[in-house]
Subunit: 319 residues, 2 copies
Protein backbone atom coordinates (compact mmCIF):
# COMPACT_ATOMS: atom_id res chain seq x y z
CA UNK A 1 0.00 0.00 0.00
CA UNK A 2 2.14 2.79 -1.14
CA UNK A 3 2.94 5.75 -3.29
CA UNK A 4 6.31 6.96 -2.12
CA UNK A 5 7.31 9.29 -4.94
CA UNK A 6 5.16 12.13 -6.19
CA UNK A 7 5.47 12.79 -9.90
CA UNK A 8 4.92 16.34 -11.14
CA UNK A 9 2.86 17.05 -14.25
CA UNK A 10 5.89 18.43 -16.06
CA UNK A 11 8.03 15.38 -15.26
CA UNK A 12 5.23 13.03 -16.25
CA UNK A 13 4.68 14.80 -19.58
CA UNK A 14 8.39 14.69 -20.40
CA UNK A 15 8.53 11.02 -19.43
CA UNK A 16 5.51 10.02 -21.52
CA UNK A 17 6.96 11.85 -24.51
CA UNK A 18 9.68 9.18 -24.51
CA UNK A 19 7.05 6.56 -25.33
CA UNK A 20 4.70 5.96 -28.20
CA UNK A 21 1.61 5.18 -26.12
CA UNK A 22 -0.75 8.04 -26.97
CA UNK A 23 -1.82 10.99 -24.83
CA UNK A 24 -2.41 10.99 -21.09
CA UNK A 25 -5.97 10.50 -19.84
CA UNK A 26 -5.57 9.64 -16.16
CA UNK A 27 -2.90 8.97 -13.58
CA UNK A 28 -3.67 7.66 -10.11
CA UNK A 29 -1.64 6.10 -7.35
CA UNK A 30 -2.37 2.45 -6.65
CA UNK A 31 -2.63 1.39 -3.03
CA UNK A 32 -0.86 -1.92 -3.62
CA UNK A 33 2.74 -3.06 -3.76
CA UNK A 34 5.01 -2.50 -0.80
CA UNK A 35 8.38 -2.06 -2.47
CA UNK A 36 7.67 0.43 -5.26
CA UNK A 37 5.40 3.31 -6.23
CA UNK A 38 2.74 2.18 -8.66
CA UNK A 39 0.42 4.33 -10.70
CA UNK A 40 -2.51 3.40 -12.91
CA UNK A 41 -1.80 5.24 -16.15
CA UNK A 42 -4.49 5.65 -18.75
CA UNK A 43 -3.76 7.00 -22.20
CA UNK A 44 -5.57 7.23 -25.51
CA UNK A 45 -3.87 3.88 -26.27
CA UNK A 46 -5.21 2.04 -23.22
CA UNK A 47 -4.35 1.15 -19.65
CA UNK A 48 -0.82 0.82 -18.29
CA UNK A 49 0.99 0.60 -14.96
CA UNK A 50 3.79 3.03 -14.23
CA UNK A 51 6.25 1.78 -11.60
CA UNK A 52 8.88 3.89 -9.87
CA UNK A 53 11.54 1.78 -8.24
CA UNK A 54 12.17 2.82 -4.67
CA UNK A 55 15.30 2.26 -2.67
CA UNK A 56 14.50 -1.26 -1.50
CA UNK A 57 14.93 -2.43 -5.10
CA UNK A 58 18.50 -2.65 -6.35
CA UNK A 59 18.87 -0.71 -9.61
CA UNK A 60 21.23 -3.34 -10.99
CA UNK A 61 18.50 -5.97 -10.73
CA UNK A 62 16.01 -4.06 -12.88
CA UNK A 63 17.23 -5.36 -16.26
CA UNK A 64 16.80 -8.90 -14.88
CA UNK A 65 13.24 -8.27 -13.66
CA UNK A 66 12.08 -6.51 -16.83
CA UNK A 67 13.95 -8.91 -19.10
CA UNK A 68 12.37 -11.87 -17.32
CA UNK A 69 8.88 -10.42 -17.78
CA UNK A 70 9.55 -9.90 -21.48
CA UNK A 71 10.95 -13.43 -21.79
CA UNK A 72 8.00 -15.03 -19.98
CA UNK A 73 5.47 -12.99 -21.89
CA UNK A 74 7.07 -13.92 -25.22
CA UNK A 75 6.68 -17.57 -24.19
CA UNK A 76 2.97 -17.23 -23.54
CA UNK A 77 2.85 -16.56 -19.80
CA UNK A 78 0.33 -13.85 -18.93
CA UNK A 79 2.29 -11.27 -16.99
CA UNK A 80 2.82 -7.53 -17.42
CA UNK A 81 4.65 -6.67 -20.64
CA UNK A 82 7.30 -3.98 -20.20
CA UNK A 83 6.72 -1.22 -22.75
CA UNK A 84 9.80 -0.06 -24.59
CA UNK A 85 10.33 3.66 -25.11
CA UNK A 86 11.16 5.09 -28.53
CA UNK A 87 14.85 4.59 -27.72
CA UNK A 88 14.22 0.86 -27.37
CA UNK A 89 14.82 0.80 -23.61
CA UNK A 90 12.29 -0.54 -21.11
CA UNK A 91 13.81 1.47 -18.26
CA UNK A 92 13.86 5.25 -18.00
CA UNK A 93 14.31 7.84 -15.28
CA UNK A 94 11.46 9.77 -13.67
CA UNK A 95 11.45 12.01 -10.59
CA UNK A 96 14.98 10.89 -9.80
CA UNK A 97 14.03 7.22 -9.80
CA UNK A 98 14.29 4.45 -12.33
CA UNK A 99 10.87 3.85 -13.85
CA UNK A 100 9.12 1.47 -16.23
CA UNK A 101 5.77 1.25 -17.93
CA UNK A 102 4.10 -2.14 -18.24
CA UNK A 103 0.83 -3.21 -19.82
CA UNK A 104 -2.21 -3.39 -17.57
CA UNK A 105 -3.28 -6.90 -16.68
CA UNK A 106 -7.03 -7.45 -16.16
CA UNK A 107 -8.07 -9.45 -13.15
CA UNK A 108 -8.73 -9.33 -9.43
CA UNK A 109 -6.57 -10.95 -6.78
CA UNK A 110 -8.41 -13.21 -4.37
CA UNK A 111 -8.90 -11.63 -0.94
CA UNK A 112 -10.15 -15.01 0.28
CA UNK A 113 -8.25 -18.00 -1.04
CA UNK A 114 -10.59 -20.80 -2.07
CA UNK A 115 -9.83 -24.38 -3.03
CA UNK A 116 -10.60 -23.70 -6.71
CA UNK A 117 -7.79 -21.13 -6.90
CA UNK A 118 -5.07 -23.62 -6.00
CA UNK A 119 -4.97 -25.99 -8.97
CA UNK A 120 -4.76 -23.15 -11.55
CA UNK A 121 -2.16 -21.49 -9.33
CA UNK A 122 0.01 -24.62 -9.36
CA UNK A 123 -0.34 -24.96 -13.12
CA UNK A 124 0.60 -21.31 -13.68
CA UNK A 125 3.64 -21.66 -11.43
CA UNK A 126 4.85 -24.67 -13.41
CA UNK A 127 4.25 -22.81 -16.68
CA UNK A 128 6.32 -19.93 -15.30
CA UNK A 129 9.15 -22.36 -14.51
CA UNK A 130 9.07 -23.90 -17.97
CA UNK A 131 8.75 -20.52 -19.71
CA UNK A 132 11.75 -19.26 -17.72
CA UNK A 133 14.02 -21.82 -19.35
CA UNK A 134 16.39 -20.24 -21.79
CA UNK A 135 16.38 -16.83 -20.11
CA UNK A 136 20.04 -15.94 -20.16
CA UNK A 137 20.33 -13.73 -17.09
CA UNK A 138 20.50 -14.96 -13.53
CA UNK A 139 19.88 -13.31 -10.19
CA UNK A 140 20.94 -14.62 -6.82
CA UNK A 141 18.10 -15.01 -4.31
CA UNK A 142 18.79 -12.08 -2.02
CA UNK A 143 16.40 -13.56 0.55
CA UNK A 144 17.61 -17.16 0.20
CA UNK A 145 19.24 -19.45 2.79
CA UNK A 146 22.56 -17.62 2.84
CA UNK A 147 20.79 -14.38 3.79
CA UNK A 148 18.72 -15.75 6.67
CA UNK A 149 21.51 -15.78 9.27
CA UNK A 150 22.27 -12.08 8.88
CA UNK A 151 18.55 -11.23 8.90
CA UNK A 152 18.04 -13.22 12.10
CA UNK A 153 21.05 -11.56 13.73
CA UNK A 154 19.47 -8.15 13.10
CA UNK A 155 16.23 -9.31 14.76
CA UNK A 156 17.77 -11.10 17.75
CA UNK A 157 18.15 -8.16 20.15
CA UNK A 158 14.38 -7.51 20.05
CA UNK A 159 12.97 -10.86 18.94
CA UNK A 160 11.85 -11.90 22.41
CA UNK A 161 9.70 -8.78 22.67
CA UNK A 162 7.41 -10.45 20.12
CA UNK A 163 7.36 -13.86 21.79
CA UNK A 164 9.39 -15.12 24.74
CA UNK A 165 12.25 -17.37 23.62
CA UNK A 166 11.67 -16.63 19.94
CA UNK A 167 15.29 -15.66 19.22
CA UNK A 168 16.78 -18.90 20.55
CA UNK A 169 14.10 -21.00 18.90
CA UNK A 170 14.77 -19.36 15.52
CA UNK A 171 18.51 -19.90 15.85
CA UNK A 172 17.93 -23.61 16.40
CA UNK A 173 15.50 -23.86 13.52
CA UNK A 174 17.74 -21.95 11.15
CA UNK A 175 20.66 -24.30 11.90
CA UNK A 176 18.51 -27.37 11.21
CA UNK A 177 17.14 -25.95 7.96
CA UNK A 178 20.59 -25.00 6.67
CA UNK A 179 21.95 -28.44 7.58
CA UNK A 180 19.11 -30.13 5.68
CA UNK A 181 18.98 -27.72 2.72
CA UNK A 182 18.83 -29.79 -0.48
CA UNK A 183 21.58 -29.78 -3.09
CA UNK A 184 21.30 -30.65 -6.76
CA UNK A 185 17.59 -29.97 -7.26
CA UNK A 186 16.48 -28.43 -10.57
CA UNK A 187 17.15 -24.70 -10.59
CA UNK A 188 15.64 -21.96 -12.77
CA UNK A 189 13.85 -18.62 -12.73
CA UNK A 190 11.42 -18.49 -9.82
CA UNK A 191 8.87 -15.88 -8.76
CA UNK A 192 9.74 -16.27 -5.04
CA UNK A 193 6.79 -14.17 -3.83
CA UNK A 194 3.68 -15.64 -5.43
CA UNK A 195 1.21 -14.58 -2.77
CA UNK A 196 -2.51 -14.13 -3.53
CA UNK A 197 -2.10 -10.41 -4.22
CA UNK A 198 0.21 -11.28 -7.11
CA UNK A 199 -2.21 -13.64 -8.87
CA UNK A 200 -5.20 -12.34 -10.77
CA UNK A 201 -8.39 -14.23 -11.53
CA UNK A 202 -11.24 -13.33 -13.83
CA UNK A 203 -14.53 -15.19 -14.01
CA UNK A 204 -13.06 -18.11 -12.12
CA UNK A 205 -9.97 -18.44 -14.32
CA UNK A 206 -6.42 -17.43 -13.49
CA UNK A 207 -5.82 -14.35 -15.66
CA UNK A 208 -2.19 -13.49 -14.91
CA UNK A 209 0.76 -13.16 -12.55
CA UNK A 210 2.32 -9.88 -11.44
CA UNK A 211 5.10 -8.39 -9.33
CA UNK A 212 8.33 -10.10 -10.38
CA UNK A 213 10.49 -7.94 -8.11
CA UNK A 214 11.61 -10.81 -5.91
CA UNK A 215 12.20 -13.13 -8.87
CA UNK A 216 15.56 -14.89 -8.88
CA UNK A 217 17.41 -17.98 -10.01
CA UNK A 218 16.91 -20.67 -7.39
CA UNK A 219 15.47 -24.13 -6.69
CA UNK A 220 12.22 -24.45 -8.65
CA UNK A 221 10.50 -26.45 -5.93
CA UNK A 222 11.21 -23.64 -3.46
CA UNK A 223 8.61 -21.62 -5.36
CA UNK A 224 6.08 -24.37 -4.62
CA UNK A 225 7.09 -24.19 -0.96
CA UNK A 226 6.39 -20.43 -0.97
CA UNK A 227 2.93 -21.07 -2.44
CA UNK A 228 2.21 -23.84 0.09
CA UNK A 229 2.83 -21.30 2.84
CA UNK A 230 1.03 -18.43 1.17
CA UNK A 231 -2.07 -20.19 -0.15
CA UNK A 232 -2.70 -23.42 1.76
CA UNK A 233 -3.00 -22.47 5.42
CA UNK A 234 -6.14 -21.63 7.32
CA UNK A 235 -6.02 -18.58 9.56
CA UNK A 236 -4.87 -20.55 12.59
CA UNK A 237 -1.89 -22.15 10.88
CA UNK A 238 -3.69 -25.36 9.99
CA UNK A 239 -2.73 -26.76 6.61
CA UNK A 240 -5.70 -27.19 4.30
CA UNK A 241 -4.57 -30.38 2.58
CA UNK A 242 -7.25 -30.13 -0.09
CA UNK A 243 -5.60 -26.88 -1.19
CA UNK A 244 -2.05 -28.21 -1.10
CA UNK A 245 -3.13 -31.31 -3.05
CA UNK A 246 -4.77 -29.10 -5.65
CA UNK A 247 -1.69 -26.87 -5.85
CA UNK A 248 0.64 -29.84 -6.34
CA UNK A 249 -1.77 -31.54 -8.77
CA UNK A 250 -1.93 -28.37 -10.85
CA UNK A 251 1.84 -28.00 -10.82
CA UNK A 252 2.49 -31.61 -11.80
CA UNK A 253 -0.06 -31.48 -14.61
CA UNK A 254 2.41 -29.14 -16.32
CA UNK A 255 5.77 -30.09 -14.82
CA UNK A 256 5.95 -33.42 -12.96
CA UNK A 257 8.20 -33.27 -9.89
CA UNK A 258 11.28 -35.48 -9.55
CA UNK A 259 11.44 -37.76 -6.48
CA UNK A 260 14.20 -35.62 -4.98
CA UNK A 261 12.03 -32.51 -5.29
CA UNK A 262 9.14 -34.25 -3.59
CA UNK A 263 11.38 -35.52 -0.79
CA UNK A 264 12.71 -32.01 -0.22
CA UNK A 265 9.31 -30.34 0.10
CA UNK A 266 9.22 -30.30 3.92
CA UNK A 267 12.60 -28.61 4.30
CA UNK A 268 11.84 -26.21 1.45
CA UNK A 269 8.54 -25.36 3.15
CA UNK A 270 10.42 -24.77 6.43
CA UNK A 271 12.84 -22.49 4.60
CA UNK A 272 10.06 -20.54 2.90
CA UNK A 273 8.20 -20.12 6.20
CA UNK A 274 11.41 -18.95 7.88
CA UNK A 275 12.11 -16.46 5.06
CA UNK A 276 8.73 -14.74 5.46
CA UNK A 277 8.86 -15.02 9.23
CA UNK A 278 12.24 -13.26 9.28
CA UNK A 279 11.35 -10.43 6.89
CA UNK A 280 8.04 -9.82 8.68
CA UNK A 281 9.75 -9.94 12.05
CA UNK A 282 12.37 -7.48 10.83
CA UNK A 283 9.69 -5.14 9.44
CA UNK A 284 7.64 -5.53 12.64
CA UNK A 285 10.58 -4.50 14.77
CA UNK A 286 11.74 -1.73 12.45
CA UNK A 287 8.64 -0.06 11.01
CA UNK A 288 8.97 3.61 11.91
CA UNK A 289 6.14 5.48 13.51
CA UNK A 290 3.68 6.81 10.96
CA UNK A 291 5.01 4.62 8.14
CA UNK A 292 2.69 3.98 5.21
CA UNK A 293 3.15 0.24 5.39
CA UNK A 294 0.87 -2.26 7.07
CA UNK A 295 2.95 -4.44 9.35
CA UNK A 296 2.07 -8.11 8.98
CA UNK A 297 2.06 -10.28 12.08
CA UNK A 298 5.25 -12.37 11.94
CA UNK A 299 3.71 -15.02 14.18
CA UNK A 300 1.51 -16.33 11.36
CA UNK A 301 4.70 -17.72 9.86
CA UNK A 302 6.04 -18.85 13.22
CA UNK A 303 3.03 -21.15 13.46
CA UNK A 304 3.50 -22.40 9.89
CA UNK A 305 7.14 -23.05 10.55
CA UNK A 306 6.21 -25.17 13.57
CA UNK A 307 3.83 -27.11 11.35
CA UNK A 308 6.50 -27.80 8.73
CA UNK A 309 8.89 -29.03 11.44
CA UNK A 310 6.25 -31.43 12.69
CA UNK A 311 5.73 -33.16 9.33
CA UNK A 312 7.83 -36.18 8.45
CA UNK A 313 7.52 -36.12 4.68
CA UNK A 314 5.81 -34.73 1.59
CA UNK A 315 2.83 -36.98 2.35
CA UNK A 316 1.70 -34.30 4.81
CA UNK A 317 1.05 -32.00 1.86
CA UNK A 318 -1.00 -34.65 0.09
CA UNK A 319 1.68 -36.20 -2.11
CA UNK B 1 -3.74 7.54 0.71
CA UNK B 2 -5.80 4.73 1.91
CA UNK B 3 -7.65 1.51 1.53
CA UNK B 4 -9.15 0.78 4.92
CA UNK B 5 -11.64 -1.94 4.10
CA UNK B 6 -10.77 -5.12 2.24
CA UNK B 7 -13.54 -6.42 0.03
CA UNK B 8 -13.75 -10.16 -0.58
CA UNK B 9 -14.41 -11.57 -4.03
CA UNK B 10 -17.72 -13.03 -2.91
CA UNK B 11 -18.91 -9.73 -1.41
CA UNK B 12 -17.81 -7.80 -4.49
CA UNK B 13 -19.61 -10.18 -6.85
CA UNK B 14 -22.81 -9.96 -4.84
CA UNK B 15 -22.51 -6.16 -4.72
CA UNK B 16 -21.91 -5.78 -8.47
CA UNK B 17 -24.89 -8.03 -9.18
CA UNK B 18 -27.04 -5.20 -7.77
CA UNK B 19 -25.92 -2.97 -10.66
CA UNK B 20 -26.31 -3.08 -14.40
CA UNK B 21 -22.71 -2.18 -15.26
CA UNK B 22 -21.43 -5.31 -16.99
CA UNK B 23 -18.95 -7.89 -15.72
CA UNK B 24 -15.91 -7.26 -13.55
CA UNK B 25 -12.53 -6.84 -15.27
CA UNK B 26 -10.31 -5.30 -12.61
CA UNK B 27 -10.46 -3.97 -9.07
CA UNK B 28 -7.59 -2.12 -7.45
CA UNK B 29 -7.21 0.05 -4.40
CA UNK B 30 -6.47 3.72 -5.07
CA UNK B 31 -3.82 5.40 -2.95
CA UNK B 32 -5.75 8.66 -2.69
CA UNK B 33 -8.47 9.99 -0.47
CA UNK B 34 -8.00 10.17 3.25
CA UNK B 35 -11.52 9.70 4.51
CA UNK B 36 -12.78 6.70 2.55
CA UNK B 37 -11.64 3.54 0.80
CA UNK B 38 -11.54 4.02 -2.95
CA UNK B 39 -11.16 1.36 -5.60
CA UNK B 40 -10.68 1.65 -9.34
CA UNK B 41 -13.33 -0.67 -10.75
CA UNK B 42 -13.19 -1.77 -14.35
CA UNK B 43 -16.04 -3.65 -15.98
CA UNK B 44 -17.05 -4.61 -19.49
CA UNK B 45 -19.04 -1.34 -19.45
CA UNK B 46 -16.08 0.92 -18.60
CA UNK B 47 -14.27 2.49 -15.68
CA UNK B 48 -15.84 3.33 -12.34
CA UNK B 49 -14.82 4.30 -8.82
CA UNK B 50 -16.12 2.25 -5.91
CA UNK B 51 -16.13 4.14 -2.61
CA UNK B 52 -16.61 2.58 0.80
CA UNK B 53 -17.53 5.14 3.42
CA UNK B 54 -15.41 4.80 6.52
CA UNK B 55 -16.29 5.95 10.00
CA UNK B 56 -15.16 9.56 9.59
CA UNK B 57 -18.06 10.09 7.20
CA UNK B 58 -21.49 10.36 8.79
CA UNK B 59 -23.90 7.90 7.15
CA UNK B 60 -26.73 10.40 7.37
CA UNK B 61 -24.79 12.82 5.16
CA UNK B 62 -24.39 10.39 2.27
CA UNK B 63 -27.72 11.15 0.56
CA UNK B 64 -26.72 14.83 0.55
CA UNK B 65 -23.27 14.16 -0.97
CA UNK B 66 -24.53 11.78 -3.64
CA UNK B 67 -27.62 13.84 -4.34
CA UNK B 68 -25.48 16.97 -4.75
CA UNK B 69 -23.20 15.19 -7.25
CA UNK B 70 -26.24 14.07 -9.24
CA UNK B 71 -27.70 17.57 -9.12
CA UNK B 72 -24.45 19.25 -10.21
CA UNK B 73 -23.84 16.69 -12.94
CA UNK B 74 -27.37 17.12 -14.29
CA UNK B 75 -26.63 20.87 -14.52
CA UNK B 76 -23.52 20.37 -16.59
CA UNK B 77 -20.77 20.38 -13.97
CA UNK B 78 -18.18 17.68 -14.65
CA UNK B 79 -18.04 15.66 -11.45
CA UNK B 80 -18.44 11.96 -10.70
CA UNK B 81 -21.93 10.68 -11.49
CA UNK B 82 -23.31 8.32 -8.85
CA UNK B 83 -24.47 5.12 -10.52
CA UNK B 84 -27.86 3.87 -9.43
CA UNK B 85 -28.31 0.17 -8.75
CA UNK B 86 -31.20 -1.80 -10.26
CA UNK B 87 -33.30 -0.88 -7.22
CA UNK B 88 -32.88 2.79 -8.09
CA UNK B 89 -30.68 3.56 -5.08
CA UNK B 90 -27.24 5.15 -5.36
CA UNK B 91 -26.17 3.81 -1.95
CA UNK B 92 -25.76 0.15 -1.06
CA UNK B 93 -23.98 -1.87 1.60
CA UNK B 94 -20.67 -3.69 1.06
CA UNK B 95 -18.34 -5.32 3.60
CA UNK B 96 -20.36 -3.81 6.42
CA UNK B 97 -19.97 -0.27 5.08
CA UNK B 98 -22.14 2.01 3.00
CA UNK B 99 -20.81 2.06 -0.55
CA UNK B 100 -21.42 3.82 -3.84
CA UNK B 101 -20.24 3.48 -7.41
CA UNK B 102 -19.54 6.63 -9.40
CA UNK B 103 -18.39 7.14 -12.96
CA UNK B 104 -14.67 7.48 -13.58
CA UNK B 105 -13.52 11.01 -14.35
CA UNK B 106 -10.54 11.37 -16.71
CA UNK B 107 -7.83 13.79 -15.73
CA UNK B 108 -4.76 14.28 -13.59
CA UNK B 109 -4.57 16.50 -10.52
CA UNK B 110 -1.73 19.00 -10.54
CA UNK B 111 1.15 18.03 -8.23
CA UNK B 112 2.62 21.49 -8.87
CA UNK B 113 0.14 24.32 -8.99
CA UNK B 114 0.89 26.71 -11.84
CA UNK B 115 -0.59 30.09 -12.63
CA UNK B 116 -2.55 28.72 -15.58
CA UNK B 117 -4.50 26.37 -13.29
CA UNK B 118 -5.98 29.19 -11.23
CA UNK B 119 -8.32 30.98 -13.63
CA UNK B 120 -10.04 27.74 -14.78
CA UNK B 121 -10.25 26.72 -11.12
CA UNK B 122 -12.03 29.95 -10.20
CA UNK B 123 -14.43 29.59 -13.10
CA UNK B 124 -15.21 25.97 -12.17
CA UNK B 125 -15.85 26.94 -8.55
CA UNK B 126 -18.30 29.64 -9.63
CA UNK B 127 -20.04 27.17 -11.98
CA UNK B 128 -20.33 24.77 -9.05
CA UNK B 129 -21.96 27.51 -6.96
CA UNK B 130 -24.44 28.38 -9.70
CA UNK B 131 -25.18 24.73 -10.50
CA UNK B 132 -25.84 24.07 -6.81
CA UNK B 133 -28.78 26.48 -6.81
CA UNK B 134 -32.07 24.66 -6.55
CA UNK B 135 -30.64 21.61 -4.79
CA UNK B 136 -33.22 21.03 -2.10
CA UNK B 137 -31.11 19.43 0.62
CA UNK B 138 -28.85 21.30 2.97
CA UNK B 139 -25.94 20.23 5.14
CA UNK B 140 -24.46 22.20 7.99
CA UNK B 141 -20.70 22.81 7.67
CA UNK B 142 -19.38 20.41 10.29
CA UNK B 143 -15.99 22.15 10.14
CA UNK B 144 -17.37 25.70 10.06
CA UNK B 145 -16.90 28.54 12.59
CA UNK B 146 -19.10 27.01 15.27
CA UNK B 147 -16.92 23.85 15.28
CA UNK B 148 -13.54 25.55 15.59
CA UNK B 149 -13.72 26.27 19.31
CA UNK B 150 -14.29 22.64 20.26
CA UNK B 151 -11.55 21.52 17.86
CA UNK B 152 -9.10 24.00 19.35
CA UNK B 153 -10.00 22.89 22.89
CA UNK B 154 -9.05 19.31 21.97
CA UNK B 155 -5.69 20.49 20.66
CA UNK B 156 -4.84 22.91 23.48
CA UNK B 157 -3.22 20.48 25.92
CA UNK B 158 -0.56 19.53 23.37
CA UNK B 159 -0.56 22.52 20.98
CA UNK B 160 2.59 24.06 22.44
CA UNK B 161 4.54 20.88 21.66
CA UNK B 162 4.26 21.87 18.01
CA UNK B 163 5.22 25.52 18.52
CA UNK B 164 5.75 27.44 21.76
CA UNK B 165 2.76 29.67 22.55
CA UNK B 166 0.66 28.24 19.71
CA UNK B 167 -2.33 27.45 21.91
CA UNK B 168 -2.71 30.95 23.28
CA UNK B 169 -2.10 32.51 19.89
CA UNK B 170 -4.81 30.38 18.31
CA UNK B 171 -7.30 31.25 21.06
CA UNK B 172 -6.74 34.93 20.35
CA UNK B 173 -7.05 34.50 16.62
CA UNK B 174 -10.16 32.37 16.89
CA UNK B 175 -11.88 35.03 19.01
CA UNK B 176 -11.05 37.74 16.48
CA UNK B 177 -12.23 35.66 13.53
CA UNK B 178 -15.52 34.78 15.22
CA UNK B 179 -16.08 38.43 16.16
CA UNK B 180 -15.52 39.51 12.55
CA UNK B 181 -17.33 36.60 10.86
CA UNK B 182 -19.60 38.05 8.16
CA UNK B 183 -23.37 37.80 8.27
CA UNK B 184 -25.81 37.98 5.36
CA UNK B 185 -23.47 36.93 2.55
CA UNK B 186 -24.87 34.71 -0.24
CA UNK B 187 -25.11 31.11 0.90
CA UNK B 188 -25.37 27.93 -1.15
CA UNK B 189 -23.82 24.52 -1.77
CA UNK B 190 -20.05 24.72 -1.43
CA UNK B 191 -17.30 22.17 -2.00
CA UNK B 192 -15.36 23.30 1.09
CA UNK B 193 -12.26 21.20 0.27
CA UNK B 194 -11.26 22.14 -3.28
CA UNK B 195 -7.56 21.37 -2.97
CA UNK B 196 -5.41 20.51 -6.01
CA UNK B 197 -5.92 16.76 -5.53
CA UNK B 198 -9.64 17.28 -6.07
CA UNK B 199 -9.33 19.10 -9.40
CA UNK B 200 -8.44 17.26 -12.59
CA UNK B 201 -6.82 18.74 -15.68
CA UNK B 202 -6.35 17.23 -19.11
CA UNK B 203 -4.27 18.75 -21.86
CA UNK B 204 -4.20 22.07 -20.05
CA UNK B 205 -7.96 22.25 -19.47
CA UNK B 206 -9.83 21.67 -16.24
CA UNK B 207 -11.56 18.31 -16.76
CA UNK B 208 -13.53 17.87 -13.56
CA UNK B 209 -13.98 18.19 -9.80
CA UNK B 210 -14.06 15.28 -7.35
CA UNK B 211 -14.48 14.43 -3.67
CA UNK B 212 -17.62 16.15 -2.46
CA UNK B 213 -17.41 14.61 1.02
CA UNK B 214 -16.89 17.90 2.80
CA UNK B 215 -19.53 19.69 0.74
CA UNK B 216 -22.05 21.66 2.76
CA UNK B 217 -24.38 24.64 2.72
CA UNK B 218 -22.41 27.72 3.69
CA UNK B 219 -21.15 31.12 2.55
CA UNK B 220 -20.22 30.85 -1.15
CA UNK B 221 -17.23 33.16 -0.84
CA UNK B 222 -15.82 30.91 1.90
CA UNK B 223 -15.15 28.36 -0.87
CA UNK B 224 -13.02 31.02 -2.63
CA UNK B 225 -11.17 31.57 0.65
CA UNK B 226 -10.42 27.84 0.84
CA UNK B 227 -9.02 27.94 -2.70
CA UNK B 228 -6.93 31.04 -1.95
CA UNK B 229 -5.28 29.10 0.84
CA UNK B 230 -4.95 25.84 -1.05
CA UNK B 231 -3.79 27.10 -4.46
CA UNK B 232 -2.23 30.53 -4.16
CA UNK B 233 0.61 30.23 -1.67
CA UNK B 234 4.23 29.49 -2.37
CA UNK B 235 5.93 26.92 -0.17
CA UNK B 236 7.08 29.48 2.36
CA UNK B 237 3.65 30.97 2.95
CA UNK B 238 4.09 33.84 0.51
CA UNK B 239 0.95 34.69 -1.41
CA UNK B 240 1.41 34.46 -5.16
CA UNK B 241 -0.82 37.37 -6.16
CA UNK B 242 -0.78 36.43 -9.83
CA UNK B 243 -2.48 33.21 -8.86
CA UNK B 244 -5.04 34.80 -6.54
CA UNK B 245 -5.86 37.41 -9.22
CA UNK B 246 -6.35 34.64 -11.77
CA UNK B 247 -8.51 32.65 -9.36
CA UNK B 248 -10.73 35.66 -8.61
CA UNK B 249 -10.86 36.71 -12.27
CA UNK B 250 -11.96 33.21 -13.25
CA UNK B 251 -14.59 33.15 -10.54
CA UNK B 252 -16.00 36.57 -11.41
CA UNK B 253 -16.13 35.72 -15.12
CA UNK B 254 -18.92 33.31 -14.16
CA UNK B 255 -20.32 34.78 -10.94
CA UNK B 256 -19.39 38.38 -10.12
CA UNK B 257 -18.86 38.97 -6.41
CA UNK B 258 -20.96 41.44 -4.44
CA UNK B 259 -19.10 44.22 -2.60
CA UNK B 260 -19.87 42.62 0.75
CA UNK B 261 -18.31 39.34 -0.42
CA UNK B 262 -15.17 41.12 -1.56
CA UNK B 263 -14.91 43.05 1.69
CA UNK B 264 -15.23 39.79 3.66
CA UNK B 265 -12.45 37.96 1.82
CA UNK B 266 -9.72 38.60 4.41
CA UNK B 267 -11.75 37.28 7.35
CA UNK B 268 -13.02 34.36 5.27
CA UNK B 269 -9.43 33.58 4.31
CA UNK B 270 -8.44 33.71 7.99
CA UNK B 271 -11.27 31.36 8.84
CA UNK B 272 -10.34 28.93 6.07
CA UNK B 273 -6.68 28.94 7.13
CA UNK B 274 -7.72 28.35 10.75
CA UNK B 275 -10.01 25.46 9.74
CA UNK B 276 -7.20 23.59 7.97
CA UNK B 277 -4.68 24.53 10.64
CA UNK B 278 -6.94 23.08 13.33
CA UNK B 279 -7.76 19.82 11.57
CA UNK B 280 -4.12 19.29 10.64
CA UNK B 281 -2.99 20.12 14.14
CA UNK B 282 -5.53 17.69 15.56
CA UNK B 283 -4.42 14.95 13.16
CA UNK B 284 -0.78 15.75 13.87
CA UNK B 285 -1.31 15.36 17.59
CA UNK B 286 -3.54 12.31 17.30
CA UNK B 287 -2.22 10.17 14.44
CA UNK B 288 -1.59 6.77 15.99
CA UNK B 289 1.68 4.96 15.43
CA UNK B 290 1.68 2.98 12.22
CA UNK B 291 -1.36 4.76 10.78
CA UNK B 292 -1.80 4.70 7.01
CA UNK B 293 -2.22 8.46 6.79
CA UNK B 294 0.40 11.03 5.88
CA UNK B 295 0.40 13.73 8.53
CA UNK B 296 0.47 17.19 7.00
CA UNK B 297 2.49 19.85 8.74
CA UNK B 298 -0.03 22.15 10.47
CA UNK B 299 2.46 25.03 10.49
CA UNK B 300 1.98 25.63 6.75
CA UNK B 301 -1.45 26.95 7.67
CA UNK B 302 -0.16 28.77 10.72
CA UNK B 303 2.01 30.85 8.38
CA UNK B 304 -0.89 31.47 5.99
CA UNK B 305 -3.09 32.51 8.88
CA UNK B 306 -0.45 35.03 9.94
CA UNK B 307 -0.44 36.37 6.39
CA UNK B 308 -4.22 36.79 6.32
CA UNK B 309 -4.14 38.66 9.63
CA UNK B 310 -1.56 41.04 8.22
CA UNK B 311 -3.66 42.10 5.23
CA UNK B 312 -5.99 45.04 5.52
CA UNK B 313 -8.38 44.32 2.68
CA UNK B 314 -9.24 42.27 -0.40
CA UNK B 315 -6.72 44.35 -2.32
CA UNK B 316 -4.02 42.10 -0.94
CA UNK B 317 -5.46 39.27 -3.02
CA UNK B 318 -5.44 41.39 -6.15
CA UNK B 319 -8.99 42.71 -6.06
Amino acid sequence: MAVYTEVTDEALSAFLALYDIGTLTAFRGIAEGVENSNYALKTSAGDFILTLYEKRVNKEDLPYFLGLMEHLRARGLTCPQPVRARDGRNLQELAGKMAAITTFLPGVWPRHVRLEHCEPLGAALARLHLAGQGFAMTRRNGLGPDAWGALLDKCLPQADSVLGGLGTELQGWLARILADWPQGLPVGQIHADLFPDNVFFLEGKLSGLIDFYFACTDILAYDIAVCLNAWCFETHAELNVSRSMALLRGYQSVRPLADAEIAALPVLARGAALRFLLTRLYDWLNTPEGALVTRKDPLDYYRRLRFHFAVSGAGAYGL
